[in-house]
Amino acid sequence: MNRMRVFIFLFSLAALSCGRKDDAIEIQFWNFGGTPNFIEWVRNRVDMFNKTHPGVRVVISDKSWNMIREILYANYSAGTAPDIMTLHANEAADYGEAGFFYPINTFPDFEQVKKWYQPNLLESTRYKGNYYGLPGSAIAFVLVCNKDLFDAEGITPPKTWSEFREAARRLTKGTDGDGSIDQYGLVLLGGDKGGFAYRLAPFILKAGGRILSDDLKTVTFNSPRAVAALKLFTDMYQVDHSITPGFLAYTMSEIGDLFCSNKVAMSIEGPWFKVMVEEKSPGKEFYTVPVPVPDDMLDQYDTAPTLQDMVMYPINAHTKHPNEAWEFVKFLRNEEADMSWVQKNLGGIATTVHALNSPEAASRKDWLVYKNELAHALPWPPHPSINAIARNVITPYGEKAIVGELTPSVAMEQAAREAQAILEGRK
């Protein structure tokens, strides 16, 4: 009798375990960063996919955006990288060169999928003829102007460098009557390596300068126009004192606090800024305008390119389930999903033609600026070393010029020499 009971118990246990066996293909998706709204949205999207695709189970993990490169490189080296991840499109060259990403143009329906996206945005995921990810949210660097301060001063957002400098000068003042300055015209991001290069590059590009030559073999960010862009910041810091003195220690958090507490009037930002301001100071208004151009280029104010950046969704080249991963990426980034970027404040700009041209998009005032800027914007040049150049060369030399350790032209010359050595593999 006892034996029979044991047998029934074991049989039930085995039957239960068989019933729980999950044959679904598991796809690991690492989401780096994102606003709280976006994280909630992407989790819902994953749930939706899992419900509608019974044979596949996507497992999402949230990771720190600040450590994205360390985490991904370490995991690729260890062979534990996820099937799908989020990443800046400007990493396509770096990772593509390393053979980390799956060339998504090899999927049979790619040509069809390609038509969803604004062409120049999709192009920034391309390296040496291969596309390495579907566009996520797009970023165009613009100038955000504190409406309270601009209105109080009775000035409008600047269009030229002269107007920009003058606006910053006028908006730099003491406000509490103690004789010291407690409101500044401009804040720059200096406490995050690379952040500064992303603020300088839009001015270089708007002035007609370029970072590298078209064949990616020569550094060109030391051109007179690029040096002039750096000199503009240098003069504002050293002569006008209209840039916050402590910018070298600022991260995004401090910039948001300064802006929301009316301590600064302008900053060079992207679409995430609206989300950050709404979190810190609900209802606070600001103007979103193109980055100013040199005075002699006023006619190109809204056609000269700014810096474009974008989040993309690449697939691991070593994934065991490329087709399932591709299905998920398409689900995450199709035209219907992209409408969420228009309807909700997720911290980025849509990338599909459908969403960008939708009536809802047209009704968002700040989006008109972003949409227009994105149409002309240029990404960082698609070179595997571009991130190293931006973070380790342009940023420190640019900052040295601003604080007066080097003149702008010497700083850019030294930076160009170092960057050229990197391009040529000598460093």
Binding site: R69, Y73, Y76, L248, V403
Partner: protein, 289 residues
């Protein structure tokens, strides 16, 4: 008990140690002699090429100098403050009580990451309380960017380091003070020795071995300190507070040159292991006294 039994009992711990300590160390040494990048993977053997690259890098020498300054300032000031508090606690001078002594040790138990963020906000040029006090007291006219200024950033991080290290020094000094025989002070008092002379001729000599240990530990821990610097300044502004542990990360995970990063970490390791030997020597001499 069989002769092999102790070894068998020790084996799991030894294996674990070998896995988490010896393997990474050996791998790091191997990496330091190879051209190895996280992007391109392992390349050819370079001999001492990575070490030569480290020595040729101006940033290494700047970081080395910064690390030495950070270690000296962080250790010396922490020891002086720790000794001061230990003397107050030992003599129960003023309102110093056991509870106060406990409160003074709190910085030691705060996570360096949390402490780093707290100090970063304390020193913020616009919203920081340090500037608020300085402006209120009329010492400065407007908030100063302590961490955004290349001249002051390293010093500020060292001050934060002092804040975190002094409680340990205080506890150690207090323990040392309590071992000094009272008879020595009584005999000195009979001879008419002033308290200050007593401090120089009795207290300090008796604390010599504690001080040696604290100096060595302070220097070793400062040389190893990544968290405080990384959280407060990330080595900036413009590398003004770059120290060796942060530079190892820069080489390995910002420049993705693992070979060079490994070479630097081995150099730091060699330096620290030498200091550790000195520490052990001091410790053994102290125990033999």
């Amino acid at each position: 008990m069989k002769r092999s039994t102790p070894y068998l009992l020790l084996a799991p711990a030894l294996l674990f140690t070998a896995f988490v300590l010896a393997y990474p160390l050996v791998q790091n040494i191997v990496n330091s002699f190879r051209e190895i990048s996280l992007i391109k993977g392992a390349g050819s053997w370079t001999g001492f090429g990575n070490y030569a690259n480290v020595f040729r890098d101006a940033l290494f020498w700047l970081s080395f100098r910064n690390t030495v300054v950070y270690a000296i300032v962080g250790t010396v000031l922490a020891l002086l403050i720790g000794l001061g508090f230990a003397l107050l606690l030992n003599d129960r001078i003023g309102k110093i009580t056991g509870i106060a002594g406990f409160l003074y040790t709190i910085p030691w138990v705060v996570s360096p990451v949390v402490a780093g963020f707290a100090w970063k906000w304390l020193l913020n040029d616009t919203f920081g309380i340090a500037n608020h006090w300085l402006v209120s007291a009329g010492i400065v006219k407007k908030g100063f960017s302590w961490l955004g200024n290349p001249q002051t950033a390293l010093l500020c991080v060292a001050v934060a380091r002092v804040w975190q290290f002094y409680p340990f020094a205080m506890v150690m000094f207090l323990a040392g003070l309590q071992t000094i025989p009272k008879e020595q002070y009584e005999a000195a008092a009979v001879d008419g020795t002033s308290p200050l002379r007593g401090f120089y001729h009795i207290t300090l000599p008796n604390l010599r071995s504690v001080t040696s240990v604290l100096v060595l530990l302070g220097v070793i821990w400062s040389f190893n300190d990544f968290n405080m610097v990384f959280v407060m300044t990330r080595g900036g502004p413009i590398n003004a507070s770059m120290v060796l542990p942060v530079l190892v990360r820069e080489y390995s995970f910002v420049h993705f040159d693992v070979g060079k990063g490994s070479a630097l970490s081995i150099l730091v390791f060699g330096l620290l292991i030498s200091l550790s030997f000195v520490y052990l020597k001091v410790l053994s001499r102290r125990e033999s006294l």
